[in-house]
């Protein structure tokens, strides 16, 4: 969509490096699966195959496939970009607020973090004025409250502020 990727000045991590990294990460997960399976036994027990039997072979296949993927990733042309830094910055702008958000939900409930996330996103990334930002962020919380807790009777996590309001 954006034409910045065609500009010669664009720089960023290479596709082959990221792909090799992803393959390595999956390989580690495969290795963890193998270790975990060995712990519970991969042989033949009193009830037939032991608990680790199936995941052990799964783990082996993950490792084998990841080795192939890693080799193929590194054989790719070196110049292809995974994404340029500007694009990654865009992605990061959403990842870190989300990280704070999911960390805050257990303490503050769902409504306050959701309000802050929506308002923050609209104000700083969307550059909307305060009135519309507040209207939509607050309206969303009210809509969620009515839909989930009143209509479908699904309780959502609440924090100290909801307690104060007596909800």
């Amino acid at each position: 969509m954006s034409d910045s990727s065609q500009q010669p000045s664009s720089a960023g991590p290479r596709q082959r490096h990221v792909e090799a990294g992803v393959a390595a990460f999956i390989l580690v997960l495969g290795a963890i699966t193998i270790v975990g399976s060995l712990k519970v036994g991969i042989g033949w027990g009193a009830e037939g195959p032991q608990s680790g039997f199936f995941p052990f072979w799964i783990g082996l296949m993950i490792v084998a496939a990841s080795v192939v993927n890693m080799a193929r990733a590194l054989a790719q042309p070196a110049r292809a970009l995974f994404a340029d830094w500007g694009q990654l910055r865009q992605v990061f702008k959403i990842v870190w607020p989300m990280a704070i958000y999911v960390a805050a939900v257990p303490w503050l409930g769902i409504y306050v973090p959701s309000f802050l996330l929506t308002a923050g996103f609209m104000r700083w990334l969307g550059r909307y004025g305060w009135p519309i930002t507040l209207a939509i962020s607050l309206g969303l919380q009210i809509l969620i409250y009515l839909t989930f807790e009143k209509w479908f009777l699904v309780p959502l996590p609440k924090g100290p502020i909801e307690d104060m309001l007596g909800l």
């Binding site: 975990g36 608990s51 680790g52 496939a65 694009q87 992605v91 969307g126 939509i136 969303l140």
Partner: protein, 500 residues
């Protein structure tokens, strides 16, 4: 025929005001979900699944399956008007749909797309009506080895039929199996792969994975592209619809071929996306106007839309009759059945007749309602897409988070959702397929159980999977699917010299 009688019984179940209301709500929600980035059929259904826990299973499946039909319809709107495929299976629709819109034929393109979708779905539903009971009664005789062989065939099809490199498909799929294995071993009850963590005792829930991988991952991808929506106006009126309908019967051959491709790809779980591409490619080669494809040929809209809907719908056939879903959304619906206390698989047709035939009857009605809704409400749905991303994105993120929380009322799941989301972003960018990963998480325990029970019967010998004609031929089909690229290559090489 017996199934016709059962079907009429199903209509009697469905035709209540309440169920018709759920149907309408489902379709409208589904189209909205299909139109918005970051919300697709699979994770839309996953998010709304917890809301249906208190409903009767029949009403719940009507609501959720109608969301699925709506999402299938909705994908075409964004493809044609905005050149943005709302769903992966509508990518092929952009090739000719958007050029048509640029030529001012948006109305024709949309009518053709919706009508073709409807035709494809209807064809698949008729196939389900006739074939599902037969498959189910056949599958009732399956032992563990036969069950495993069906899983084997399903997963091999992903490797051989997918467009991603086989090693990546295998890695993604096996990762799904590994995630499914975490927690309590369903056969012996022993804990495994938890490494002492209490959060992992229950294992990974595929609903969380679906919401993260498809929902959050998609938003991250959209952020990266810095998407700005530039859409064509949606001029659709009764005159255009009628005129396009008059024109459509000319392409009956393309439709029929696309229906068959779609049903085949949907039942063997290759899925709607490859079906739409394959159908488009074959239509382009077979058509007299093949050179016009890509410049706004109506046939280039009909072919992929028919196949995608036929595949998306027929994906429910193996889910209902064998307990093996043909698509991620079908997998989520299968998860729903388990939560509502129903056992998917052949017994469903014996023990839960009302439910199964109610669902099948609702497919007929749901697609008729869906066609009417999309034809009349296109401008409204297109307007939703004009809501800026700066507002839509945080709303979707919050909805995903709430959806993840409500699955188990657990805030740790919200954390896992974000982890899956970031993983989904990287996996997608590195061309790993997500559908086999999700399906493996859903089916992992069942596949393992069938595998281990087979080995118990045979005292550990793998020959049990070749012990009779039935299991042997399903396994052989699986191997053919697994090595399909190599096999078709070989055939190509043999037949090529003959052509010269």
């Amino acid at each position: 025929m017996e199934s016709i009688g059962d079907l009429l019984g199903g209509f009697a179940v469905v035709l209540s005001w309440q169920n018709l209301f759920y149907m309408l709500v489902g379709i409208v929600l589904g189209v909205i979900i299909g139109v918005l980035p970051g919300l697709g059929g699979a994770n839309g259904v996953a998010i709304l699944l917890p809301l249906t826990f208190s409903m009767s299973p029949t009403s719940a499946i009507i609501l959720l399956s109608c969301i699925y039909w709506g999402a299938l319809f909705g994908g075409a709107i964004t493809s044609i008007l905005f050149n943005i495929p709302g769903e992966p299976w509508s990518v092929a629709t952009t090739f000719d749909g958007h050029p048509m819109a640029q030529k001012g034929q948006a109305g024709e393109a949309l009518t053709a797309a919706f009508t073709s979708s409807f035709v494809g779905a209807l064809f698949a539903i008729i196939v389900i009506t006739l074939a599902a009971p037969l498959v189910a009664s056949f599958a009732l005789q399956f032992g563990p080895a036969e069950k495993f062989s069906v899983f084997f065939l399903a997963f091999c099809s992903f490797v051989g039929m997918g467009k991603e490199p086989p090693a990546k498909t295998i890695a993604a799929m096996m990762l799904g199996f590994a995630l499914a294995a975490v927690g309590t071993d369903t056969v012996t009850g022993q804990l495994r792969l938890t490494f002492g963590s209490t959060e992992l005792l229950g294992g990974f829930d595929f609903l969380i994975a679906v919401i993260g991988l498809f929902g959050i991952g998609e938003i991250l991808l959209t952020m990266e592209e810095g998407l700005s929506f530039k859409g064509k106006a949606a001029g659709i009126n009764p005159a255009v619809v009628l005129q396009t309908w008059k024109e459509l019967p000319r392409y009956w051959m393309t439709s029929l071929r696309s229906c068959l491709i779609g049903c085949w790809m949907g039942i063997t779980p290759a899925g709607a996306t490859p079906a739409s591409f394959m159908s488009y490619g074959i239509a382009k080669r077979a058509s007299r106007n093949g050179d016009n494809f890509g410049k706004g040929d109506i046939e280039g809209v009909i072919a992929p839309e028919t196949a995608a809907h036929a595949a998306g719908t027929s994906a429910l056939l193996p889910m209902l009759s064998l307990g093996v879903p043909g698509s991620p959304t079908a997998a989520v619906l299968l998860g729903g059945l388990l939560i509502w206390g129903l056992q998917p698989g052949p017994l469903l047709f014996v023990e839960q007749k009302d439910f199964v035939w109610g669902l099948i009857a609702s497919m007929y009605l749901g697609n008729i309602v869906g066609l009417a809704v999309v034809l009349t409400m296109v401008p409204v749905f297109a307007a939703i897409l004009r809501v800026p991303f700066g507002i839509i994105a945080p709303v979707i993120l919050v909805i995903c988070a709430i959806g993840a929380y409500t699955v188990h009322n657990n805030t740790f799941d919200v954390v896992m959702m974000l982890v899956f989301g970031v993983a989904g972003y990287f996996l997608k960018k590195c061309n790993y397929p997500l559908a086999p990963l999700v399906l493996a998480i859903v089916l992992g325990d069942k596949a393992e159980e069938a595998f281990r029970q087979s080995l118990l019967i045979s005292q550990g010998s793998l020959t049990v999977f070749w012990s009779n004609g039935l299991v042997g031929s399903i396994m052989a089909l699986g191997l053919v699917a697994l090595f399909w690229p190599a096999i078709s290559n070989l055939f190509g090489r043999i037949s090529k010299p003959a052509l010269r």
